[in-house]
Symmetry: C2
Subunit: 370 residues, 2 copies
């Protein structure tokens, strides 16, 4: 393979690894079909029927570029959360926003604080801009707020990533602790507070929408990919001070948002009754996943998300064997990438039929592994 | 507005200007409605009915992330163009790919060669990564291949942007000249050959799909936004050697492509009969726009695209007044941004009803301007 000879030294140094291998790629590699797609924390419950109707109604407008200012969605989000439209930036999923934030803040060699085993796509972006990851271990399967704060101060880090609720463990903090943590950070440290799973979190665990809106060094990220059931639409948003979020306009792909995705997000936001119902179904599915785990002698971890991390009781090799074994039955799940988190497997909530397949396959896989 | 205090010096230095103001923003600013949307080189003819059917059929899968490897679309494009799947990179429109290319190649201060008045979004990305634009003037309303080659050599530039057919002028070169140009560039200069308007170009103006596929320093970019009528879907692609296009995997937003957009692109590619029909309708609309221009004493330029640049015969101030005047009639058009190109207005092809509105409004606007 002959490549252009003059990519930047940074680009040349980067590995071609990807943050996640998709289930379609696994299907192609193994020649098998996914029968239960419960590995990527998507929502098998799907979006609201009202969202699908909207897509049908608006499909004919797909020849038009989307409004590059994303005005309507910002206005709707502002009304929903009691903030102002200029507190929002819209992006092609949180992944897009994470890349833009790293680009705005990180120069090669700068330290970036995260937790050891936290969201790999954030790490991908940090590497992509030459940042130096400094990671605090999880404590009791939770991200360690005290350790993150200490690291940020010690390293004089310009950027900290923290997710609440957490992926891949499903754990969470109370809102007060998070507000205290954010306010204790130096103003020269930007906090990414990733709230991708906020809709499924328990009462008291998500700071009020305006709790941190006075802080220019905080950006909260949210998405329509999880409880709203729109992972394929790629709609994420960031919340911050008007001054901070306006920085995205300097570098973002202004015409990047797909038109039908924005329409879908607007419809999803308007249908809070459906969201409420889905959150109940997600909770029920979490309980069922936990029951299946216990029935098989494994230990489910408490979860504030649309997935359950299950402690398989041994090491990463064993957990990987379970993941691979389940795929042999057409059950697609994932697992954390780093010890000691990787003693767990991670199962997304989904339809009863999906969990039936998981329930049938798991004991067979465990028995085969011995 | 209080912003985070520690964005990179580069980010801090960037202006908050945007490449293009969308028609929706103009509507909000002026309190008027667009009645004829013929300014952004979208396709008012829309995508094929088969594409809209596909969107309806696949909408229910929007809860799933898209295949991050974009396998199916690469395979389909490879079959369509007689290349291999690994000659392709898929992105969220050409705009996304342009940003990624600049990031892969440009470090602050490096020279980047383009034409004076060529695609502003490319310039936006060059500025965004701290590149230094070096521009060759157009010659006879065409990009000047000899001047671009000379500049690239003189500056030892790592990156050159060239569009064929050209936006904003609609002009084009013959395929042989482009192949000669590409092969004359130093191997340390990466050529972006932007072929967004290739589908509407005359016979003999687009190099064969494999004409440059041996060159690691050429990336050709194409899109479903123009003749295929899918601007709102955001699907662009790049063609190059396997080695060169694999570099995108190091930095791209792997889960960035919307699922329905990919489905729409696949369906559009499969319906070449519709494309052929639309291209005929675009040609007819070009002729009608040219007729309208001549009837009003203006001079249409020949066009290989889905728009027509019209020489209004005076300066940029006058052309701007025409653009603004037309918007007062609900007719949204655009114009080149730089002299001497900005003596022109630029009118996209569209449905007869859209051109009727243009035909009615133009003489009134010209008369009011005197």
């Amino acid at each position: 393979m002959t490549a252009f000879s003059r990519f930047t030294p940074l680009a040349t140094s980067l590995p071609a690894t990807v943050p996640f291998v998709g289930p379609e790629a696994i299907e192609r590699q193994r020649g098998t079909s996914v029968r239960a797609r419960i590995g990527a924390n998507e929502s098998g419950f799907g979006p609201a029927p009202s969202v699908l109707r909207t897509i049908g109604e608006k499909a004919g407008e797909i020849w038009k570029y989307n409004d590059p200012e994303n005005h309507a969605l910002k206005v709707a989000l502002a009304a929903h959360l009691g903030l102002k439209p200029d507190n929002f930036v819209i992006g092609e999923g949180i992944d897009d926003l994470l890349g833009l934030i790293v680009r705005l803040v990180i120069e090669p060699g700068m330290p970036v604080v995260t937790s050891l085993g936290a969201y790999p796509t954030f790490n991908f972006h940090v590497h992509g801009f030459g940042g130096r990851l400094v990671a605090a271990p999880y404590r009791d399967d939770r991200e360690d707020l005290d350790a993150l704060l200490d690291l940020a101060k010690r390293e004089h880090a310009p950027l900290v990533y923290f997710a609440n609720p957490d992926n891949p463990m499903g754990s969470w903090w109370d809102a007060d602790s998070i507000v205290t943590f954010a306010r204790a950070l130096p103003p020269t440290t930007l906090l990414i507070l990733d709230e991708a799973y906020s809709e499924t979190a328990p009462e008291g665990s998500i700071p009020a929408a305006d709790a941190l809106i006075d802080l220019p060094n905080v950006i909260r990220t949210r998405t329509f990919s999880k409880a709203y059931g729109l992972a394929g639409a790629r709609v994420g948003y960031g919340i911050g001070t008007a001054g901070t979020v306006s920085a995205f306009d300097k570098i973002r792909n202004h015409f990047g948002m797909p038109r039908l995705s924005t329409e879908a997000a607007l419809a999803a936001l308007a249908d809070q009754a459906y969201l409420k119902d889905v959150v109940q179904r997600i909770k029920a599915a979490r309980e069922r996943i936990a029951d299946i785990a216990r029935t098989n002698g494994l230990t489910p971890l408490p979860s504030a998300t649309n997935f359950v991390a299950i402690d398989a009781g041994r090491d990463g090799v064993y957990a990987r064997a379970i993941v691979d074994g389940l795929m042999g039955h057409g059950v697609f799940i994932r697992m954390p990438g780093v010890a000691p988190l990787n003693r767990c497997i991670r199962v997304s909530t989904g339809l009863p039929a999906d969990l039936d397949l998981f329930e049938q396959a798991l004991p067979q896989v465990l028995e085969a592994l011995g």
